[in-house]
């Protein structure tokens, strides 16, 4: 039994409410207010290119308006989601100088808005991360490399970055584990939804069986492995005549539902600077059927992690019935209950 004094803080990313925002049902400002009112914080995470028109440029007065809105809602800023858009041009990737400038603009915006942590993506190499470090120190932000499916802690790029972190030893560098990298099964609601939409049982069974076969390993180690999985899923779609409807299911089976063991985050957790508490379903017992919260939370507590876990509901990709605010509340209730059993203050 672990007895610890500290526990992680909870919060949410506005990405969880994408259908409402994209559907123009709630504005950015309304989402912030509602997160506060419904007690879904205190941590607030924002994806810059999702929420802010013109990002990383900010309209005049935006930073002040934003800080005021966050304060009025009783929230705290947790992380800004930056994007490493290396594929900006049709014919080539950005070189390191260009990507450094592209990331720097977003770090400056994070600083202007008051975010302590910035999510960074895998196009940023260890060398580029090292080049960004002095900027992060100057702007007083922490850079967190997101480990997102189909990547995992076993991917050579992440291991190389861990090695670089150990060499540099800076508190401004770390990782952002995304629980979508360590699923134990395909989210049941996804299969049920696509069945209701009319995909054949045959295709769904083969899809699930294929995912399980990927799950038995070996885990994705490089881009060729990922391409092979995407190709296999596309073949399934053609074989069983899935059409447009099957396309998202098949691609998400590779890009969203990773195969790392939930226990395997451990060696990276001393370097965790933020966590994406990704989830899809909450069952009748209040548990997440494909993400064992008892394991991922236990390991965070045992690692002494006290920064934010940002609840990230991504079930909206197919689940249009459940209210995203309710879903977020349910997962946070699961997280609280689990943390209560792990942490004695």
């Amino acid at each position: 039994m672990t007895i610890a004094l500290a526990r992680p803080k909870l919060g949410v990313t506005l990405y969880s409410f994408t259908p409402y925002f994209h559907g123009r049902q709630y504005s950015f400002w309304e989402l912030i207010r509602i997160v506060g009112e419904r007690g879904l914080g205190p941590g607030l995470e924002v994806v810059g290119f999702q929420s802010i028109r013109g990002f990383p440029r900010l309209p005049d007065g935006f930073a002040t308006q934003f800080r005021n809105a966050v304060q009025s809602a009783g929230l705290e800023l947790s992380a800004l989601g930056a994007n490493a858009d290396a594929g900006l041009h049709p014919d080539r990737l950005l070189d390191d100088d260009e990507l450094e400038a592209y990331m720097l603009a977003q770090l400056e915006t994070a600083h202007a808005l008051g975010f302590p942590t910035v999510r960074v993506q895998y196009s940023v190499t260890p060398d580029l991360m090292e080049r960004l470090l002095p900027h992060a120190e100057r702007l007083d932000v922490v850079l967190g490399m997101e480990i997102h499916a189909p990547h995992s802690v076993h991917h050579p790029d992440m291991l190389a970055l861990l090695e670089r972190y150990e060499k540099l030893g800076s508190p401004h560098l770390g990782f952002i584990p995304d629980w979508g990298s360590s699923l134990t099964r395909v989210p049941p609601s996804m299969l049920a939804t696509y069945r209701d939409l009319g995909l054949s049982d045959e295709l769904l069974e083969h899809f699930e069986e294929q995912w399980k076969e990927f799950h038995r390993g070996p885990i994705v180690q490089n881009d060729d492995d990922q391409i092979a999985q995407l190709v296999r899923m596309a073949e399934l779609g053609r074989e069983f005549d899935g059409g447009d409807l099957a396309q998202n299911l098949l691609m998400q089976g590779v890009g969203l539902f990773g195969h790392q063991k939930p226990e395997d985050w451990k060696p990276f957790l001393p370097w965790a600077v933020h966590v994406h508490g990704k989830f899809y379903d909450i069952d009748a017992d209040g548990n997440e059927p494909s993400i064992p919260h008892d394991i991922v939370l236990r390991d965070l507590v045992e690692a002494g992690y006290t920064r934010y876990i940002s609840t990230e509901w991504e079930g909206w990709h197919w689940n249009t019935k459940d209210d995203p605010f309710d879903m977020v509340a349910k997962q946070q209730s699961l997280a609280r209950r689990t943390l209560d059993s792990l942490v004695r203050s």
């Binding site: 259908p19 594929g87 041009h89 990737l93 881009d223 060729d224 391409i227």
Partner: protein, 133 residues
């Protein structure tokens, strides 16, 4: 993503020099116009030639053929993309069949140096409004 929202309801407009429809971003974040890899639009079965298409969003209008260079102009998630087709006239009928595919390069998801692309496709029936100048 958000396939049902791809074509804005009742957005078909007959204009002096052609017609236009409006599309919503089939992704969760803004993307530069340089990431627009495909617009395939057919109204009543007649596919618009790429050279006749202009896209317009957030006060910027560009021929489809020159979006590739537009790395500093974005299609924001809350904005419509107006797709304007020149030199094609709608036939007189109560309802028109609109068939649209939008392809986007996801610039943060390169695999072996080649960013992942996604395509969303939708077909909708709607009347045409007349452009009021």
């Amino acid at each position: 993503m958000f396939r049902d929202r791809l074509i804005v309801d009742d957005s078909l407009v007959a204009e002096d020099a052609g017609y236009s429809i409006r599309a919503r971003m089939p992704w969760y974040r803004a993307l530069p116009l340089s990431c627009l890899v495909e617009i395939t639009l057919a109204v009543d079965g007649a596919t618009a030639p790429a050279a006749a298409i202009t896209v317009e969003t957030d006060g910027v209008a560009l021929p489809l053929g020159s979006t590739a260079e537009a790395t500093d102009r974005s299609w924001f998630v809350l904005d419509d993309l107006v797709i304007r087709v020149a030199g094609a006239h709608l036939t007189a009928r109560a309802d028109h069949d609109v068939d649209l595919t939008v392809g986007l390069r996801l610039p943060y998801l390169p695999i072996k140096g080649e960013p992942l692309t996604m395509r969303e496709h939708l077909r909708k029936t709607m009347p045409a409004k007349e452009f009021q100048s």
